[in-house]
Each structure stands twice: as structure tokens, then as C-alpha cells.
Symmetry: C2
Subunit: 339 residues, 2 copies
């Protein structure tokens, strides 16, 4: 069964498609009798307006595309939650794609979204993404892009992020004020900006508090979100016997890997070594000991990015000039048993 169209309704009532359309829009240049007849028949036939046809007329799809590294991830699922809520409020649909932290895949996904004629794109860059030609090409076509969380400062578009450096600085400063002196950092992979910024925040906090930076206390985790990377590096740290009394970890998943290793090896947390995470995943409030962490506003990041994107889409459609926004959302620390 083909879907009921406006034409079917017009034919049945022996009126023009234009009249049927006007009647459904409640326009006054249609008689009451006709209007009522059209509405009654539309209800009876369960008529649904074809948004594809409407979109072709207006050159809008009322759809925005989202590319995230991965969806099985508490932070990104919260972001998507915020995106969907804001988009819905404004009558937009959301198509979600994943880059799997792979640059080539990210480019492919962008092309797919362009084919789908989305009105705008939200993206959090993959860890592999260094240059941004693929984004600039789309921006040149006047398709708005908002980059969130994992941003690249060199792309000329709106951005929504947190101040990773400041959040790391605050976490490490907290540890120093609690009396910890030899603080290790389990850093993330070398490329993404948030990995770099959290490392710089760690380093700056040490220096500002008169503690010498010691590169031998920086452990490299290849995957920021791999529990096992935390576990394995914690084993290394114990072998190194470098008198570390606290660790600032790039993510909660890395931190929870550290907790597991320490629990298994009888290292008391925080008495022997304190552990600080980043992102405040739910699990961090239920592990033993519960984990101190940085609260990252995922839902709000998704909501705000979408608000800005739709604003830009509307401005473009009405030829209203606008400036790109650079929003930095506030973070806070949640202190628990691990420190």
C-alpha cells in the first residue's frame, strides 16, 4: 500500500491539490465546508504530510548529522542525549554516525551526511584527526559545522568544549593541597587536543606549586578509554618503585584500571597512593574505593552545540550575518574516597 498523498485526498473530494493543501494549513481562503471535509478525510485515511516533498521545496531536510568517535561510551551517550533533546525541541531529526576514532572513516561519514543533504553537522574529532581539510570543504559550501569536545582550534567554525587544561590544573592542585608531592600522570594518546591539554594542566599545576616536573612520572596510555591501559601502566608504576604518592589519570576508565591493579596488589588507596580520574562516569561512584573525578557536562555540551548549530542554519537561510561562537563549559571536581 502506497502512502496516502494530498493528491488522493484532492481526487476523492474533487478539488485541486492546492485547495486541499490550503485546507490542511487552516487557511482562510478555503470555505469552512471544504476545510472540514478535507480534515475529516485526512484523518480517516490517516494522512501524514510527506516531509521529503516539503524539504525538496524548501531545500531543507530539517535533519542534522552527528559524528562521534563511539556511542558505547557514557560521556558521548550523554552528549547524544542532549543533542536529541534540543533537536527535537526545534523540530530537527538527528542522524548519528561513528568514526571509531579513525580519520579515514570520519571523512567517509562526512561525505555520507553531505549526500543526505543534512542542514548542519555536529562533530567530535577522532583521535587520529590532525588536519581539517575535510571540514573546511564543507564549511565552504555553507553547511554549518559545530565541533564539540574533541575540537581543533584551527577550524573556523563554532566550538563547544570544556577547559581541559584548567580542569586538569584544578585536579592536580587539589592533590597538592592535600599534601601529595610525587604525583604521576597517566596521560592519553599524543594527538587529541584534550589529551595534550590535560597533560599541560598537570604540568602547570606542579610548576605553579614549586614541584619539579619529572617526565619519568608520565605514563602513556595508547587508548584514553581503555581500562586495560590503566591496569598495565599501574603494574609498570609499581615495578618502577618511584615513590609516587598520587596519580592523575586522563579518564575514569584509566583510573578504574589503576584501582583494580592496586586492589589486587594490596596497595592502599588513598593511604599509599591516591587516584584522581576525569569525566565522572557512573561506575566511579560505585567502585571501591569510590573515585574522585572531574565532572564533565556531557548533556549540556550536546544541547548547547545543537542550539548553536540550528541558530546558524536559520541565520544562513535568512541571510542574517552571524559570528562563530567559542563556548567553554564549566567543570567541577567531585571528591570521593580515592583521594
Amino acid at each position: 500500500m502506497k502512502p496516502i498523498t494530498l493528491k488522493d485526498i484532492a481526487l476523492e473530494l474533487n478539488i485541486s491539490v492546492t485547495t486541499a493543501s490550503k485546507a490542511l494549513q487552516g487557511r482562510s481562503d478555503v470555505s469552512n465546508a471544504t476545510r472540514e471535509a478535507v480534515i475529516k478525510l485526512a484523518e480517516k485515511l490517516n494522512y501524514v504530510p510527506n516531509s521529503v516533498a516539503v524539504n525538496l521545496r524548501t531545500r531543507q531536510t530539517k535533519t542534522i548529522g552527528v559524528i562521534i568517535p563511539t556511542i558505547v561510551h557514557q560521556f558521548f551517550s550523554k552528549v547524544i542525549d542532549g543533542i536529541i533533546e534540543e533537536a527535537e525541541k526545534q523540530g530537527y531529526f538527528v542522524i548519528t554516525l561513528q568514526s571509531n576514532e579513525n580519520f579515514e572513516f570520519e571523512k567517509k561519514q562526512l561525505q555520507l551526511l553531505m549526500q543526505k543533504r543534512v542542514d548542519g553537522i555536529l562533530i567530535s574529532l577522532s583521535n587520529q584527526t590532525q588536519q581539517c581539510k575535510h571540514l573546511n570543504e564543507i564549511l565552504q559550501k555553507n553547511i554549518p559545522i559545530v565541533i564539540f569536545d574533541k575540537i581543533n582550534k584551527l577550524v573556523n567554525c563554532s566550538k563547544v568544549s570544556i577547559d581541559d587544561q584548567m580542569a586538569a590544573y584544578n585536579s592536580v592542585s587539589y592533590l597538592i593541597k592535600k599534601g601529595y608531592k610525587r604525583i604521576a600522570h597517566f596521560r592519553g594518546s599524543l594527538m587529541p587536543q584534550n589529551s595534550i591539554d590535560r597533560f599541560l594542566g598537570y604540568k602547570k599545576a606542579l610548576i605553579d606549586h614549586g614541584i619539579e616536573f619529572d617526565s619519568s612520572l608520565v605514563y602513556l596510555c595508547d587508548n584514553n578509554d581503555d581500562f586495560n591501559d590503566g591496569y598495565i601502566n599501574a603494574q609498570k608504576l609499581l615495578k618502577d618503585q618511584n615513590n609516587v604518592d598520587a596519580i592523575f589519570a586522563i579518564t575514569d576508565l584509566i583510573a578504574v584500571g589503576i584501582l583494580k591493579c592496586f586492589n589486587e596488589n594490596g596497595v592502599k588507596i588513598p593511604e599509599d597512593i591516591a587516584v584522581f580520574g576525569f569525566s565522572d562516569w557512573f561506575m566511579s561512584s560505585v567502585v571501591t574505593p569510590t573515585l574522585s573525578s572531574v565532572v564533565q557536562p556531557g548533556f549540556e555540551m550536546g544541547r548547547k552545540s545543537t542550539e548553536i548549530l540550528i541558530e546558524e542554519i536559520k541565520n544562513l537561510n535568512t541571510n542574517t550575518p552571524y559570528a562563530f561562537q567559542n563556548i567553554v563549559l564549566p567543570t567541577s571536581l567531585v571528591i570521593r574516597e580515592s583521594t
Copy 2:
């Protein structure tokens, strides 16, 4: 800047739109010279085919809609991961909406997807959804629907689920074989089928092993996925002093709430009371003690549902008759410290 259209290319080369279109499709009824000129210009202008226009011609949008209760949920995010992967492989886009476990909202989301003219719909029902008129109306319009995970047996369409009753039966039977005799059940809300089935599996396992069912050992959690519901009911259970030696919980989140309460109150797990969860979330492998659970194949459930849906869409388009499928995916138990 408006996107480049086929018309722009045709104008520039002084050929018809039809010829330009044929050239891009590589058809042989266009001269080599023209074909090459069109392809070269299309590349130069960065032309992207407008899938909206293509869709209007074919009456297909190559888009499927998904409605899940919530995305900030490890199981459902894994399902979405499987859906996106399979859809992409077959050239379909995925629009994701959330029902927030609310029936009225679920109906509204279905209407939105219909307006968007999606080719098919994947849905996991909200806990409130009892009758399925809203689904039957869509099926009558020949839009395929596949229901997954939280299904309703009365809807005449394909379904992908696990055997919740069997999985619960296996978990409780395992506890009984380990020597536990007074096994409580922290059940979920009354409505959804999976909540009912897990309760029935629990009851059947007791009876089959000659243990009398005692309704006073069944604790009702209003929200299947609320950690606090597990925590509060565990407090109640301790007050009840009913000599329970094991608990089978409807979900891992409920079970982790129990662990927290027991850890705080010095109840030894599993020596005093063993705890068994359901769904095997990542956190269950890192809490103390680690939690035994039922492994639920989220990714495969999403993948399989999508495969069936696209098969049905294709069959409909070619008027090929097909039968609805009822897939029950296998589960397994993962045994950890808590039992």
C-alpha cells in the same frame, strides 16, 4: 552558496540535465567526450548527488528510524552501535529517538518518524506500553517494524529478543546448585515483558529444584535501571531478617545498588549473601566484589534487527512475499566473585 546541482553542470556544458545525469551514471548512450567532461566538471565543482531528490523519485529515503527508551544506558548504546554498523553496511541512515520509557512520547516519536518517511522502524517498547494500536497502524501502511529486546508478543511483526525466562532460570539454577537455598528476587516494574519473564524464570527454577516459592522474598524495584532502587530494597531486606542467602537481581544496576548497601553494612558477599545481576555492564567487572551476571548480546541484537528490517524493506519494494521472523538470541552466564 547553494549546493551545486545537476542543472548547474548541464548549463555550464550546454547539455540537458538528463544527459548530465546519464553521464554520471556511466551510461553507454552518452559519448565518451561528454561523459568525461561531466565527470571532470562534477569533480571540480565538488558536486554531491542530492539524495533527497533521488529519494522522492524512488519513494525511498534509505533511512530507518529507531526508538529506544534511553541512550545513556550501556545495553542500548551497544544495540545502537550494532544498528548503525549494519545500516551503514547496507547504505541506510539511522535516525535515533528516545521514548524516555513514556508511552505518549513513544507514540509522538513514531509519528515524527512517519512524517520523515523512514523506510522502516526499529523499536524497543517503553515500560508503560501495554497496547500496540500505534504500531499496528504503521504496519497497516506497509512500513516494516522490527521490535527488539522489550517486545510485545501480540504485535504481528518480526521480533528479536533474548529468552529472558530461560536466562533467569539458568542464573537461579546456578545459585541453587552452588548450595544457596533462600534466594530473593529483586524484580523490575510490573509491565514490561522482560521484567515478567525474568520473574517467571526465577520462580520456575525454584519450583523445579524443589524449593518453595515465597512471595515475601520478592522485592519490587519501580525502575529496573535505578541503582538507588537496589540500594533501598537491600536496606529493606536487611531489616526483614529473612535469612536470605542469595539475591537474583533484574539488572546489573539494581545489583550494584545491593553491593553498595551490603558493603556499607558489613554484609560479606558472597559468604553472607550472594548477588547475581543481569546484562553484564562493564562496571560489573570492576566493582568490589565483581558481579556475576547474564551476558546479553546488545550489539548482535541491534545488528540482527537491522538486517531483518532492511530485508523486509527490500521485499516490500519488490513485492516479494516474506514471513515475519522471531529471533531469540542466546545468552550466557559470567560467574565472578559475587557468587
